[in-house]
Symmetry: C2
Subunit: 125 residues, 2 copies
């Protein structure tokens, strides 16, 4: 379910956060679903429990999950909506990169093609 890249520059706990959000966005993790416990996941991924705790704490801070001590940790009803709102914020990132592309003389069509390919729409070449 999770896949850690230990050579990536992004910290492990951020990878956990990102992948969990993606799992929510794609509907694999739904309202009420239980997240793997810090101990279980630490064994599965060979990652320190504290690192996972750090990731889960952040997800909780964002309102994507709640903890039930002695019971487990579960996805909240608002999770999907919150992830969607967060994604909208990333449009600024796209805009920023696109500005650099423009400055470097990359045709706007190339950028748009990249976006559409991600959405599964092939270019009318």
């Amino acid at each position: 379910m999770y896949q850690i890249d230990r050579f990536a520059r992004t910290p492990i706990y951020e990878q956990i956060i990102d992948q969990t959000q993606r799992l929510i966005a794609t509907g694999i993790l739904k309202d009420g679903d239980q997240l793997p416990s810090v101990r279980m996941l630490s064994l599965e991924l060979s990652v320190n429990p504290n690192t996972l705790q750090k990731a889960y704490a952040e997800l909780e801070r964002r309102g994507l999950c709640v903890s039930a001590p002695g019971n487990g940790r579960f996805i909240t009803p608002d999770a999907l909506r919150l992830v969607g709102e967060g994604m909208k914020g990333r449009l600024d990132e796209v805009r920023s990169i696109a500005e650099e592309m423009r400055a470097a003389g990359i045709p706007v069509e190339d950028v748009i093609d990249a976006v559409q390919s991600a959405y599964g729409k092939e270019t009318k070449s």
Copy 2:
């Protein structure tokens, strides 16, 4: 010419690299232009000369500039082309973000609008 954000998560030397590439991409720095010396820039930005040396060394490794010991450091003829090629590689980044957007249910139009706004084209809303 340069602007350092000391609170950013991206290291100073990377900021120097990025901004230099942008200056090349935008044509502000052209073939044969001299880069500010490590000592001058270190005073101007209040940054350690070693940090700037690190940034310049990387730019040199990428073939964007060459050093003439005792003389200065200058933009190469290939710099503009190399920066352009590097930007094309960032299309993968756009694609990656767009995939997450799609998974989160963000309409493709929103992403494309972000791109076009960066290129100065307003949306036909």
